[in-house]
Each structure stands twice: as structure tokens, then as C-alpha cells.
Amino acid sequence: MRSLFKFHGGIHPATNKAQSNHKPIAQAALPSRLVIPLHQHVGNSAKPIVKAGQHVLKGQIIGAPEGHVSSAVHAPTSGLIAAIDMQPVAHPSGIPDLCITLIPDGHDEWSAREPCADWKALSHTDLRHRLRDAGVVGLGGAVFPSDMKLYSHKHQIKTLVLNGAECEPYITCDDLLMRERAAEILQGAEIMRALLYAEEVLIGIEDNKPEAIAAMRSAVLEGRHERMEVISVPTVYPGGGAKQLIRVLTGIEVAAGVRSTNLGVQCFNVGTAYSTWRAIRHGEALISRIVTVTGHVGQPQNFEALIGTPMDELVAQAGPLPDTRGYIMGGPMMGIRLPSAEVGVIKATNCLIAMSDSLFPPALPALPCIRCTRCVDVCPAELQPQELFWFAQSKNLLKAQEYHLFDCIECGACSYVCPSNIPLVEYYRFAKSEIWAQETSKKAADAARERHEYRELRIEREKQEKADKLAAKEKAALEAKALKSAAPLPPAVEGANVSLCDAPVDADPENTMQLKIQAAIDHAKQQAAVSKPENTEHLTPQQQAEIATIEARRARIRELALSSADEHTKE
């Protein structure tokens, strides 16, 4: 037996997994339409590369990754692109995002795939490119592009941790995936191990999933996987958090702001390993995922659903019940309440829970904190939640950060145990967002101040330059005159501070006047040269076009202003 480590705290809510884990994964019916958001992953939104009205094939890229951290989005089935527009998405804010709406044609016709029988023959760079193009992202909920995480130097990473803990109540999608597709998960893990040069693979599964543990163990034996171990870990929420699982399996604590790879560990969800294998071996993009549909429904079950499947069409296959009061995407501890049941399934959708009053009773009014420190006892980050609450409530943001606000993983254990029913995590989210907002506005203010200071400096400099030039001119003129009249030169004034007033008093007044006039003319000429718009040369045709449009717009505005002024005068 491997000796396991413990993390502090944790809670034991009712697991509610039995409802959905006794039936095999069902293939969800082809929906009437698919609403596919272009931003389903951490990083930049994918860029749409199809047009409305275009016919696409299953697996065809419809959103291309943009920039360094991004991932591709694909057509989950063949059909017609109906629209590319703003639609509600699975985000608690309810703010719409750019989505591609696809009407399936029913043929489910694949585009050309590029399977690879021997992935070991491919270079690591090639493997990563394939994963990026296949849109493989972390399926545990973080949806971070996997290719970015599968990069390492030799001997940097000792352990690859596969996360099959699934600690949130109600969710069973990883459980079923491990029971039914263990071999493919392990093949995917081998690709990950190779990319990371990792020595060992540790697969952590909570001990309330004996079937999954057995299936994975026999797959390890059958597949003859070396240095790969399936480890049964105690069932405690949030034992499936990456930091917590790494701690339990390896004893390493990954502090906030530290990359686990620097400590020799990388962690992936079992579903991500499965998708990695499908992407490399079969050339299949990530166009579907396992979704647990449970809670207040007649037949709770896991479905393999296409990305973009409207949630209500998915729930319809699990027997929706009356008195359903909304849906949670994810688990009851960290999931989000969906703004509408019509939003599409995304890569992060591991579970859909229909809510009813009996399953999710109304929250009681919050009482003051009595500092009972039950929250301290359960906090896996070992924070002092009651102090953070106090600081967040009084907007003492500096103090909140001093008490490690940003180490909070928002697991919700503190809110769960609070006898005063204080929604603690909401206070922390609020404090974090306040700090981010402050930081953003501070940056903006800093930039504005810098700009202003630079402008002042420039104006000062220009003034100085003007004065210098004028002085030089005068001096030259005086010298010329002195030469002409052969009069004794006035003592030469060194430096630049010669102005008109400093003109030698013994000079001929008329001549001085002429000089002054000449200087003024020269000065004006010079000014004309200086005030010419700068940087108008070497412009690209595009920039010139932009300037032209801006000029046109300004002319138009001037015209409008004039005409309205005319109207005013008429009145």
C-alpha cells in the first residue's frame, strides 16, 4: 500500500451519486440545433472561420485558435451554419457571447480525419499542434488548453497525476467514463507522460467509486502500463481539487501562484486523457463530452452529448419533472446557476442538475458571524475564512489580501458548514473582483498620468527648442551685420539665452528693427515647417486609408455642425 497524505479540512456532504451511476453512458439524440460558443476555454476566443449559410462537416474547424493561449472549436456534426451572433451562454452573468449556431443535416458526416496509428513516431511539437487543432482542453472544469500544459523539460516532472476523484456531489461523468473507457484513458495518459517526460503516472480515484477503481486497475494490467498506479483516495470534498489531489498522492503542496510543474507534478482530468487519445489516435476533435443529467429528473443518467446541444434538449432525454426551478451546471458546491436552459453544452459542462425546492431548500437568512471557526476547520487552503469575511464585509481589501484572500479556491466548504448561513464565498468573490477592479483602474490612472507628464515634458522641450533656434538666428544676423558695418563686435553672448531684448544697445535702432522683422519672418517659416503633421511619411496604404476616412468623417461633422448652426441662426 502506498502511504497517502492528508490535506487540512474538507467536508462530507451527501454524495448523491447513486441516482446517476447505475446506468451506462447513453448517446444523446441529435439535437435540433447546436449553439457553439467560441469562447469555451481559458485564453483568447476562437476566431470564426466559417460564414453563415456555409455547409460544414463533422469535426471541421469552425473557430480557429487565436494567439498563444487559445483552442480550436469544431462543428460537432455536419450541417448548415445558421448564424454567427451573440447568444446567451453558460455563464452566471447571462451576458451573451459570440456563438455559432449550426443546424444538423442528420448525415453526421465526418470531415477528413488524420488518424495516427503510431503516435510515438510523431514529434512532440507535432503532437501538441494536433491537440491544439483538436480543441483539447481540460475537462475537469478549468478548460485550460491542454497543449499548453503538456510542455516540459526533461527531468522536470516526476509525476503525472490523473484526476478521477470526482469529489463534487451528484456528478458521475468521470466515474462512468472510467468504468467504460478505461483503456483509452490510459493510452491518453501515456501520450501525456511522453510529452511531459514524466516518470510515473498516479491515478487518484475516491473510494466511493469501487467499480471505476477496479476497471482502471484491470486496464493498467491489461495494457501493461509500467509505473502507472491507480490509487483509491478517501472520499472528502474537495479531494478532487488539483491541489488537494496532488497533496494526497504526493505530499506536495502547490501554493497559490506556484506552478505545480515547478514542483515536479502535472495534473489532468481523466476525461482530458481520453480526449487526448481520441484526438491523436483517431484524429477526432473534441466535439462531445460526457454530461451527467441528474437532480430533479425522472431518469438521471450520463449522456455523451455534442458540444452546443441546448441544455433543455438534453434534459428532455432524462425525463424532466414539473416544479423544476432552474439548472446548475457543474456540482452543487462550485457549479453555476444557468441563466437559461437553452444555452449550449460547452466543454466545461460535466453535469446538469435540475433544481427543486426539496433538493435545494431555500436558503435561510444570514445571521452575524459568531466566530465559531467551523469554516477554519474545513478550509482546505488553511485560511481564516471568518477573518476574510470580516475584511471583505468592511471592504478592508488590503487586510483581506494580507490574510491570503487569493489563496482561496472558492470550494465553498466554509459556506457549507456556516451555522449563521453566511454566503462566505460570495463575499470572497466580491472582494477579489473589487481588488481586480481597483488594480485595473489604478493601471489606467498610472497610464494617464504618465501620458500627461510626458506631454508636459514635450511642450516644455518644444518651447525651449523654439527659443534656442530664435536665439541662434539672432546671433547669426547680428554677426552678419557686424561684419558688414565692420563695427566692433559686441561681446559674444555664449549660450542660448539671447533674446530680442538682449540685443546690443549700441546697434543702429533701424537695423535692429529690420533684424527683428527678418527674425519674425524666419520664425514664422520655421513654425510652418514644424507644425506640419508629423509621421505622415512611410505610412502603409491601410493607415493612409484610415486617415482618409477619419478626415472624411471630420469634414462631415464640420458640415453637419455648420448646417445645424445655420438652422439655429434661422430660428
Binding site: I328, R371, Q384, D407
Partner: protein, 344 residues
């Protein structure tokens, strides 16, 4: 409607239930109190409860706070019970009423109500009474079998509410000093511990009767520990410190310093260790802080008992350590996940 943000489930636990369990844990001690000292204590508890609830409701209304949710949290009730248990049961009715009303109104609500009071309200109530009414606060009922006369329940009620005794009976005949008080007085009169403890007021460990009440509170305290209402830190370290310091003095001079078990089962040590010092609002929130807090309280309790002007030091030890709580908390913040020295 549940909240719009996660988590969507909560543990079925409430402040009201926690306080109720603490009240229940007081019952063994109260039962033994009645057994040894008669039912007068029940009158005090009832008076204190009613005063506490009435004051709480009044203060909530004055502060424009919702009355019912707070009345139902049982915290005022607990304050009332603790005050009733810390003052002599056969006392004029206004004593417990003044103590309770002051505790709830001044030391709780004027500081912001539930969760915001820096001092333990029950101990503030006790301190106000012992300073303002020292005579009434030291007239304790003698346990059954020790006093010259036993008073019936009706006669007790007559005294509590009307201040009259049956013909020919005086208060002095019914009451006596507490075991701790007697010990102190006798030591001042150059008595030796061995002789003093032979007096009939003393039982096996400490005061006759009162030692059993303390044992009742110990039983209730163990229930609180078992049901995880309180953690072990404060009671164990408080009693441990009291035992260690008392033991040290006893070893050095057994004739003048009583043995440590006497201290455990006298006065408010037991009820203080499990029910008063453990009040979460007025004790530190960190584990290390709780240890410091409890050790300090144990030391101060002993110093007041052995060298101070009051027979018992529990209440003042609590209040003195309450002052230190913010400081203790600030300096005992534990290291967070991943930021400790790692021992792989």
C-alpha cells in the same frame, strides 16, 4: 430561493442549534445543583431567561433589527443561564435581573449585538454585580444537611420576591461563604490546609455539594467536546494550567496551598473551562491563540484565588483574557496551504 451562486447546499446546522446544545449540556450541572441546594436556582434561571429575552427584544427593537430571528438564536438565553448559575440562588430578584439586563444591553447590544461583543456578557454581568452588591453576592445557600435550617420552596420564593423570611429566621442561618471563600479566610487566620479541609463544608475533593455540581458541568462539557461544539484546546489547557500552577505551589508548601484537584472542583473552574472561556465570540479563533488564551486564563484564575482579593478569579481571568483576543489572533495566524516549510 437558494442563492444564485454556489454552493447551493448547506449543512443543516444553525446558531440556534449550537446554543441549544450548550444549554442542554448545562442541565446535568443544574440538576445536581437542585439536588444539593434546593430549587431556588430554578427561580433564578427562570428570572434570568425572561430578563434576557425581554432585554434582547427591547434592544433589537431600539436598534431597528429584526426581533424574531435573533430571539430564536438562543444566545441571550445562554447568557441569562450563565449569570443565574454564577450568582447566589437565594438572592433578591433584582440582583439577577440587573445583572442579566446589564449583560445583554450594555455588554452585548451596545457593542453591536450577536458576534460583536468583545467581552463575555455573562462575566460582565457577574463583575458588575460583585462590585456593586458584594454583600448579596457572597450569601450562598448552604447545601442540604449543612445549614442550620432548611427553607421550603414557598419560603424561598417569598424571600426572593418579597424579601421576607418566616418568623424567627435570618438570612445568616441559611447561607454561608463558599468553599473557596472559607479557605481564603481560614488561611488568613493562619489555618493549615489539612485542618481547614476537615471542616464540614468540605467534601471529598472540594466543597460539599458544589464539587458535585462542578462534576455535572464536567459531564456536560464532555458532551460538548464529543459533539464538536467546542474544541479541546481551551478546556484542556485551562484546566491543565490551573492544575500545574496549583500543583507547583502545593508541592512547595502543602500546608498553605491546597491541592490542584480542589481548584478544579471549586468555584467556576469547570463551568468556566467548558462553557464560559469557550464562547467563540470572545475567544481566539486560531488553535495556537486558544492555547495562549486558556493558559493565561488558568494562570490568572490561580493568582486571584491564591493571592488576590476575590475568592474566585474565573470571571476576571475571562475578562482580562478577552481584552487580549484581537492581539492574540493577530499574532497567531497560521501558515496557509503550500506556504509552510515543506516536509516531503
Amino acid at each position: 430561493m437558494p442563492g444564485f451562486f454556489s454552493p447551493f447546499i448547506t449543512k443543516p446546522d444553525s446558531v440556534s442549534q449550537i446554543m441549544l446544545k450548550v444549554l442542554m449540556a448545562l442541565i446535568p450541572g443544574i440538576a445536581l445543583y437542585v439536588w444539593y441546594f434546593g430549587p431556588a436556582i430554578l427561580v433564578s434561571i427562570t428570572l434570568a431567561s425572561l430578563t434576557a429575552l425581554a432585554t434582547e427584544a427591547l434592544m433589537l427593537r431600539l436598534r431597528n433589527r429584526p426581533v424574531m430571528p435573533f430571539l430564536k438564536d438562543n444566545s441571550a438565553l445562554l447568557t441569562g443561564w450563565l449569570i443565574a448559575l454564577s450568582i447566589p440562588p437565594l438572592a433578591p430578584w433584582w440582583l439577577v435581573v440587573i445583572g442579566t439586563a446589564f449583560a445583554i444591553s450594555v455588554s452585548k447590544h451596545l457593542y453591536g449585538g450577536l458576534g460583536n461583543n468583545p467581552f463575555n456578557p455573562a462575566m460582565i454581568g457577574y463583575a458588575v454585580l460583585i462590585i456593586s452588591f458584594p454583600v448579596q453576592m457572597t450569601q450562598w445557600l448552604s447545601p442540604h444537611g449543612l445549614g442550620a435550617i432548611q427553607l421550603g420552596f414557598i419560603d424561598q420564593l417569598n424571600y426572593i420576591f418579597l424579601g421576607v423570611f418566616p418568623e424567627g429566621i435570618k438570612l445568616d442561618a441559611l447561607t454561608m461563604a463558599t468553599p473557596l471563600d472559607t479557605l481564603k479566610t481560614q488561611l488568613h487566620l493562619d489555618g493549615q490546609i489539612r485542618e481547614i479541609l476537615d471542616m464540614p463544608i468540605y467534601g471529598r475533593l472540594a466543597g460539599h455539594g458544589s464539587e458535585m455540581v462542578a462534576a455535572g458541568f464536567l459531564l456536560g462539557g464532555l458532551y460538548l467536546l464529543a459533539s464538536r461544539i467546542i474544541s479541546w484546546h481551551i478546556p484542556v489547557v485551562y484546566l491543565g494550567t490551573l492544575f500545574a500552577v496549583a500543583g507547583l505551589f502545593h508541592l512547595l508548601d502543602p500546608a498553605h496551598y491546597v491541592e490542584p484537584l480542589f481548584h478544579w472542583f471549586s468555584g467556576a473552574a469547570m463551568i468556566g473551562a467548558f462553557f464560559i472561556l469557550t464562547d467563540p465570540i470572545t475567544s481566539p479563533s486560531t488553535h495556537k491563540g486558544k492555547l495562549i488564551f486558556a493558559a493565561g486564563a488558568g494562570l490568572i484564575t490561580y493568582l486571584i484565588r491564591a493571592f488576590g482579593g476575590f475568592p474566585d478569579g474565573m470571571a476576571f481571568a475571562t475578562l482580562l483574557m478577552n481584552i487580549c483576543v484581537p492581539l492574540i489572533d493577530a499574532y497567531t495566524q497560521p501558515k496557509v496551504f503550500g506556504k509552510k516549510e515543506q516536509k516531503p
